[in-house]
Symmetry: C2
Subunit: 387 residues, 2 copies
């Protein structure tokens, strides 16, 4: 049945196929890309209990599970057994990275290469990224660059990774002078999103993931934003049905945008709502002090505020966004004491800066984002000076 | 005129356009690839004296010349002025790497990122790889991974880089456990091959480049091999006309193969004739002790010998290859004392190994290479045991 899902020509499979396997409902989306690089996203409770899902994506008999020490204790054994049950003669290596954004560096990346080479993995090996965004970004970049590119699967274990970083092929590491400055666009063979793993996710990390979910409503779907307002309590209680819907709709929007603009030449940049401000916060505080989603939450509110200041956005949307983020236990303002100077310094090395004028993702309505440097840049300075 | 060269549908422009610019004859070849990634190779004496050639390839106003300390002293000023004359308001950074294969590492790569970030290069920057294969591989990999990919130009200054590494988009660095184990396929916007720069190339490096030139004859063109036998003295004397022809024919063959198989899924691997043996030699001796071309020369003879042992190749071709390499002042046997065990150890981690049986590039005639693991592997062991 999986193999039967058709590749639709350059558009997202908007009406996901649902089917039963072992009595579990799995939703399948597809990121549609040229050159045979399209890939499925499997979403549901118990995805990782279904070895058949993985089988079509095994190119060889070598595997390397890349995870971190925290996630390894919870799910490494499950993935290991999944591999063995699919491929009894498999050669399986495991790399357990230290947990945290501050380890997302070239040095840590080299630890993955060390294991791959020590264990003599060849070009037919498959990497499995088991963890949150940091693990996914690093394992993906390792896959992109090991022997100039090998297969990899994303198995995201945080809400943020499930709705954002595991889909779309952005991989990379940080540099001491900037976040995500070294990396590649490199697509996985498949993404396996098992909502069951969210049961073990700490509350603060769960909230950080909700920030990106809310972002999708703001940039692309006013109805989804309203749905989130109505269902935020169910999500906070991790109601399985609500979770599957929120994750599916987030991945649909992301897959649609990525399918249109894989290399972020244009529209893809709308996915960065709040991220330019957010990266400045993360850099100023030191990676990992604020979680990425927390910084994005505060950054989204700053982007909404600037949009209101410019007269582009109804102030009511700003108010509703603040309310929704607060109900999601997320910050709605930058860290106390972070100065205008600190923002300007960090924002000017951000990737969104082109030839001297700052480009930002701003809103012209709920569900309507634009990427532009065509705004009164003095309004940005004024906004920051008020801090 | 340059812009008027037509993109031919997935085949090499086999009859290069010659035209006059400033009284100099420049040959233009094209590597034809999908997704608007085709690019020209300009070949001739004085290519670097023609700023017009470069102009179409400038995406922005930021440039970073990546070179090494040796080449910087000879040609950095020329390139700097070429940039200024094209783009008077240009922001130009320079990275001078230490010279040598042993610096082709992730650590040295990070020095390029340091400069790019300190000088606030954005996604519209263009990197210029000015140097030999090491500089080209590292600058290309930096371009592939800085902010997930920026433009770059190849300006090869060694014969080896001009006929091999600057064309085809293989970029990367070495790892202590293997050569070129970390990298990406990433194509330049253009390659500028100025035969004038070969005037300053040391004799040993020139010979190393000839090894790759001879390789093209052996793998793909018996007539070219005969031409080389007839013209090796002219090449050794660096006769400009002979050089331009040898480089052009080498680049034509390489561009043709790369256009057919960019990611080395199949036929591209024939370009690695002698390289599996050669990499073993380089690894055993320590990178840089033998030049890459020297190791490839000895490796090609070993591949010819094995082909003869298997009964696939006329022994006369082996004899002629040895003669031609000797006349090019190249080694025709591995380093004295290098054992069968050393070869086997290093060859088994080579990228050409797939699932346990060794794949090699072997010859079934002059100009007829095959990539195969379908040969009597014991013949390889016997060959090495004779060392």
């Amino acid at each position: 049945m999986i193999a039967g899902i058709e590749l639709l020509n350059l558009t997202l499979l908007r009406f996901p196929v649902c089917f039963k396997l072992h009595m579990t409902s799995i939703t399948t989306l597809k990121v549609v890309l040229p050159d045979h690089r399209s890939y499925p996203i499997f979403i549901g409770a118990g995805v990782l209990d279904q070895p058949e899902l993985l089988r079509p994506f095994f190119a060889g008999r070598q595997f390397c599970i890349v995870t971190n020490t925290t996630v390894a204790a919870l799910y490494e054994k499950k993935i290991y057994e999944l591999l063995v049950s699919n491929s009894p003669g498999a050669q399986i290596s495991v790399v357990r990275l230290p947990d945290g954004e501050r380890y997302k560096t070239l040095e840590t990346l080299n630890e993955i290469f060390d294991v791959l080479l020590q264990d003599r993995h060849n070009r037919k090996t498959t990497l499995l990224a088991l963890g949150g965004g940091v693990v996914g970004d690093m394992a993906g970049f390792a896959a992109a660059t090991y022997q100039r590119g090998v297969d990899f699967l994303q198995i995201p274990t945080t809400l943020l990774a499930q709705v954002d970083s595991s889909v779309g092929g952005k991989t990379g590491v940080n540099h001491r002078l900037g976040k995500n400055m070294i990396g590649a666009f490199y697509q996985p063979q498949a993404v396996l999103i098992d909502t069951d793993v969210l049961k073990t996710l700490p509350e603060r990390e769960f909230a950080a993931g909700l920030a990106e979910v809310i972002k999708y409503g703001l940039i692309a779907d006013a109805d989804f934003f309203s749905w989130l307002e109505a269902n935020i309590d169910a999500l906070n209680n991790r109601d399985p049905q609500a979770l599957v819907y929120a994750i599916r709709r987030s991945c649909e929007i992301k897959a649609d945008v990525v399918g249109q603009d894989e290399l972020e030449g244009g529209i893809r940049a709308i996915l960065n709502l709040g991220h330019t401000y957010g990266h400045a916060i993360e850099t100023e505080m030191g990676y990992g002090t604020w979680l990425h989603g927390e910084a994005v939450a505060a950054g989204m509110i700053m982007a909404c505020e600037l949009s209101v200041d410019l007269g582009w956005l109804d102030p009511d949307i700003l108010t509703r966004s603040k309310d929704l983020l607060l109900r999601s236990r997320l910050p709605i303002s930058p860290p106390p004491g972070m100065s205008a100077e600190a923002f300007m310094k960090h924002m000017s090395v951000d990737k969104k800066v082109m030839d001297g004028s700052i480009r930002l993702v701003l809103l012209q309505g709920c569900g309507k984002a634009v990427v532009t440097s065509n705004f009164d840049q003095q309004a940005l300075v004024s906004q920051l000076r008020k801090l």
